[in-house]
Amino acid sequence: MTSNFISFIHRDRIIEVENPDPNETLLNYIRTKLKKTGTKEGCAEGGCGACTVVLGELKNNNINYRAINSCITLLPTLEGKQLILVEDLISKDGDLHPVQEAMVKCHGSQCGFCTPGFVMALFSMFKKYSNFKEDVIKDSISGNLCRCTGYKPIIKAAKSLKNQKKIDHFSKNMENTIKLLQKINNRSIKIYTNDKRYFAPRYVQELKEILKKNINTNFLSGGTDLSLNITKERKDINSIIYMNSINELNYIKNNNKYIEIGASTPLIDLEYYIKKYYPDFTKILKRYGSPQIRNVGTVAGNIATASPIGDCLPLLLSLNAQVVLQDLKKTYLLFLDSFFISYRKTKIKKNQFIRSIRIPLYKKNTFKAYKVSKRFDDDISSICAAFNLEIVKNKIENVRIAYGGMAAIPKRAIFCEKVLLKSLINEETINKAKDALEKDFKPISDMRASGLYRMEVAKNLLEKCCVEIKKKKIIGLYT
């Protein structure tokens, strides 16, 4: 069934919007159409968390709650979901939600403008976790900025929730919400407005048919990149295909040789899954944007935008990941190595889409990754480095190294690799390999860091990696 309207659940009601503007942000809809002004605009780029709302989605007959940035979420992607706003946390009897109560009691608000966003981020934490340790709390609010409190009372409020029963009016009303969600679930969306088109297929087959007729179209996943064209560049995006509605592509598989990640799998799922195989991958993902970003953003999206500073890309390059591309007829397997052409340009052709990404599993290798940025949480890296080494008796038998932030594309350090290959890990090798990086990269200076700094840190991270491997422990402040 295909529909030109979207439906979602809000306050126990099914709300239908006919032919919504595909470029309208969810935040704008909430504030100007639903007339709920509790949700705030702080930056319109998913960087401050003031606009955080929570979406409820059916998952295995349960509801999965996710915090998202409504400022970069496009309205039609709300299809089939439950929308929860800060105003909705208050019960019908007018009681504050435990999260709200805790924030008031612990003096978690000063000017109050960021507060609704914090409340929603904490609400999502409240629903998702059973204990609220400091690392869970900090992770949950790492995408929310507060300029007044210094965060201490907010953390205190979050900690105090551990004494709370996990029952709230959402859990009490769960059955009813599930029924409603089931009612509106399962439709494909096609919207044609005066000048814009929006498609949200549910199956790959449908996607192919849409692609056949709509060559110049933009793929949308988390919208963490595409939406900024609308909110920041003030451009119109006339044709959009939403990928995250394709459940078929939301998976992580593992055949012992590689992990395969479907194109619509949110980063947050990978963050949990990959920890067992590549703990450093998870550590970097934890600093990839914020939970609000990782709840919607995908690896496929990160690859397709080909940003030179995308945090996943150096990691995937060093692990020699492959991209599974698909067009109307067949699938192609491409090494990520040869995927990036130049600044933000890839080998994806019209008619093609990313179906999945395969990350090889190395049984013998050591994988290490580092991100250096001005701020620990939710920052874009000045330098990101990933090292994939097979070491036998202190000798490097295999090596793949890649850096982000060092060139116009995420790029391997070929010269450096050559020096390292078949060498013993010692000071001499490290120094030679460091020098080789100068052949590999000519980094630029920008507001994040100077070229000089980038080069020096690139070298130092190599040293750090080698020393850590030798000493079998972390020597730096962070990974």
């Binding site: 002004t37 930056c43 504050l96 608000s109 109050g112 210094g150 001005k374 949480d377 730096g476």
Partner: protein, 766 residues
């Protein structure tokens, strides 16, 4: 019955429940009347250029556009400068990248923002000046330089046993209030305008708009219930938005809302002044400063704005907590082609204090002494060495007590030793520790601003109380504290007092909510109004019941005169029926203060706020990454009106100050284009930047010796400066690389890059 006491009591923020449930209205949340239009501003893409021609044809034709305004639409003063001209609303010559040139009103914000991009503007480029150094070289200044002197600095430096010379810079800082600049204007009858503005200064907003329109001030009403953070960024920087919004409302005769996009907001508005300094200091073998010569230059940006007062406060805090007998300072106010820098929590004070703290740190390093010891030796003393370089006698000095107490409670000495040991064994991660004091002067240095008004009504039917003042609630909790003061004074439950939106038609001629003085001034004005109503009530009781002693105790909802007790509500009702006024205005003017700007002497401050902090950091030697592992703060809030609110200010101020000195870096291209204008490029502290261990306490013995409400001390700006300890802890960690034998060169902000470069420089010297 226990007396209900609302003062010195922990209470949640008066809007806490509204904050957490999304029910607190900010300007953008006020329900819009039908026909409300939305504005956007078109701005200069050149940092220094004559605007040759603006072709706005396509802007006007753009979808949804109703009106365009340019300088031609301004009948009155085309300037929003608060003290001096220099901040044109729409200029003929662009003085910075981002300067507004025109504005539109359209049916939606999106359409307005799209429209402004369609302007075709031709510029005649002029060479921009974008750095302090360049401005100094070209003698480009917004105001005349200032030289202040006390004693014989040059002579004593020459005669000193030890001398040091050096340079030092501190960085700019974007306010980044989570609520951006917003205005909403509704035209009224008679060409009057109702202006809702996210401002710290409704009074001046009113005056500036009136001047722009060539109308009387009584035709403009400005209202502000709360703002989503100010930090100085809405003291004068809000004016241009309120003005342009009014201009659009006037032209369209419709309500207009102007909500700034985050990037435009940051690009258009000024920030904290970055400072460059050169010093020469003479000191004895104990590290006691004997003479100090300073050159202090700040980036003021394109106009004077508040730069005069900000630089003055830097000069007034060049001593921080230290006695300086011989000093000479040259102060230059540099004009650059960047947005006009403005007020920011600390208002130049912290920039001045960093200069002296850096000098003290360097003295300690050169003498190979613990900086804490050198600081202590230079402190102002109680009976002697208590006259500042501007000739004010310090009467309330508690810095020694606070300093010693924090050193003790934080275990400074022991930790310092164990850090040294750690650093000997750790190659790649180094720790550092530092303690810094704060002494910050409270009062506006512009004398006449130290006044406030209030309006208090008591309603006859239920005895509920309505309080209005000139205070702006920006998160600092001033409404809560004023309500606590009023409730306490009237002996009523907190819930019976309502502090309502700040409005220019209720309380006129207000000063900005700034200089940390908001509650001191406005709280006192509110109490003054209440005392007048009490006088009315006492006179009535005396008349009616023939009571001689008219002193009354207001507590627990009762009013007790000697020999006669009333329920508060009954007395109010009775008074009304007997035609007694239950409403009054109130006024307060800060006593004792005076300052002669010419001779740079006097008593500019009523009192000083004190604090001290010990910070411990870790740095990564390979990357320069850093974190604050522990901070201990002891801060003087006098007798705190609401300790929870004061704690919030102390903690939040510290983290904001740490941001200023570490990760927050404002960056311009050489052509004057700002490159850090959104959260993706400009980083304010996030949750992981809070000190891992964060021990914050209010100085228990604290009591204001001056006659300030409740003997309290403000906690607005001063706690920010406790973060100076973070910077010097980082420097201390770097110094460990050369085994504390050499002094690292480090400027603020200490970004990972700066830290790594400082380490490299130091390594080269070993």
């Amino acid at each position: 019955m226990k007396k209900e006491n609302f003062i010195n009591e922990i209470r949640p923020h008066e809007s806490g429940i509204k904050h957490v449930s999304g029910k607190a209205f900010y300007i953008d949340d006020i329900p819009e009347p039908a026909g409300t239009l939305h504005g956007a501003i078109g701005w200069s893409k050149k940092a220094h250029a004559i605007i040759k021609k603006m072709n706005l044809d396509e802007v006007i034709r753009s979808a949804g556009v109703i009106a365009v305004v340019t300088s031609k639409d301004i009948k009155g003063r085309n300037d929003v400068g608060p003290v001096y001209d220099g901040d044109p609303i729409f200029p003929q010559k662009a003085e910075y990248y981002g300067q507004p040139l025109f504005a539109v009103a359209a049916k939606t914000t999106e359409l307005a923002r799209k429209a402004v991009l369609k302007a075709k503007i031709s510029y005649k480029n002029l060479k921009p000046i974008t750095t302090i150094k360049e401005a100094l070289k070209k003698k480009s200044f917004v105001l005349k330089e200032k030289i202040i002197k006390k004693g014989e600095a040059l002579k004593t430096i020459n005669n000193s046993a030890h001398r040091l010379k050096g340079k030092f810079t501190t960085g700019s800082q974007e306010h980044f209030a989570l609520e951006g600049q917003t205005a909403f204007v509704i035209p009224q009858e008679d060409n009057d305008f109702k202006v809702f503005s996210s401002t710290q200064h409704p009074g001046e907003t009113q005056q500036i708009i009136a001047k722009m329109l060539n109308q009387k001030s009584n035709t403009i009403t400005v209202e502000t219930r709360r703002i989503g953070g100010g930090f100085g960024g809405k003291e004068t920087q809000s004016f241009i938005f309120a003005s342009i919004c009014t201009l659009l409302a006037k032209k369209t005769k419709q309500p207009v809302k102007l909500k700034m996009d985050r990037d435009d907001d940051i690009i258009i508005t000024g920030k904290r002044h970055d400072f460059y300094s050169e010093y020469e200091v003479g000191f004895n073998e104990l590290g006691i400063i004997e003479g100090l010569k300073l050159k202090l230059a700040s980036r003021c940006g394109s106009s004077p704005d508040l730069s005069g007062a900000i630089n003055e406060r830097a000069l007034l805090h060049i001593d921080n907590a230290y006695y300086l007998e011989n000093i000479i300072v040259e102060n230059y106010l540099c004009k650059t082609n960047t947005a006009s820098n403005t007020a920011f929590r600390g208002f130049g004070g912290n920039q001045g204090m960093m200069v002296i703290e850096n000098i003290i740190d360097n003295i300690a390093s050169s003498l190979k002494k613990d900086p804490a010891e050198i600081r202590r030796r230079n402190f102002y003393q109680k009976k002697k060495k208590n006259i500042t370089h501007y000739n004010m006698k310090i009467e309330d000095n508690v810095i020694q007590e606070i300093f010693e107490q924090i050193l003790k409670s934080s275990n400074y000495k022991t930790r310092q030793a164990s850090i040294k040991k750690f650093n000997q064994e750790s190659k790649y991660v180094k720790k550092g520790i530092a303690v810094t004091p704060v002494k910050f002067g409270i009062s506006f240095t512009t004398w006449h601003l130290n006044q406030a008004g209030a309006l208090v009504h008591i309603y006859c039917n239920d005895g509920s109380v309505h309080v209005n003042t000139g205070a702006i609630e920006m998160g600092q909790g001033t409404y809560t504290k004023i309500a606590q003061l009023a409730a306490n004074d009237l002996g009523l439950p907190f819930g019976k007092v309502k502090v309502s939106a700040t409005r220019t038609d209720k309380v006129p001629n207000t000063s900005a909510s700034a200089a940390s003085s908001t509650t001191d001034l406005n709280g006192a004005a509110a109490l003054n109004a209440i005392s007048k109503i009490k006088t009315n009530l006492a006179a009535y009781v005396k008349r009616k019941y023939k009571i001689k002693n008219t002193e009354a105790i207001y507590e627990n909802g009762m009013v007790k005169f000697r020999g006669k007790t009333f329920k508060f509500n009954s007395l109010i009702k009775e008074a009304y029926l007997n035609r007694v006024s239950l409403s009054s205005s109130g006024f307060y003017a800060t006593p004792k203060i005076h300052f002669d700007k010419k001779s740079f002497t006097g008593r500019p401050f009523l009192y000083f706020a004190y604090g001290a902090a010990v910070s411990e950091v870790m740095i990564d030697v390979l990357t320069g990454e850093n974190k604050i592992t522990r901070a201990d703060i002891l801060h003087d809030a006098g007798k705190a009106i609401n300790p929870a609110i004061e704690l919030g200010q102390i903690e939040g101020g510290f983290v904001q100050g740490a941001g200023w000195l570490t990760m927050e870096e404002v960056n311009w291209k050489s052509n004057g284009q700002l490159t850090t204008h959104s959260p993706s490029t400009y980083k304010i502290p996030a949750v992981s930047d809070m000190p891992e261990q964060f021990n914050v306490e209010i100085f228990k013995k604290g009591k204001n010796i001056e006659n300030v409400i409740n003997k309290s001390k403000t906690t607005g700006e001063p706690p920010l400066m406790n973060a100076m300890s973070v910077f010097f802890a980082i420097k201390n960690a770097i110094a460990s690389i050369a085994n504390y034998n050499l002094n690292p060169e480090l400027n603020a902000p200490a970004t990972p890059e700066r830290i790594l470069m400082s380490i490299n420089k130091l390594k080269r010297k070993i």
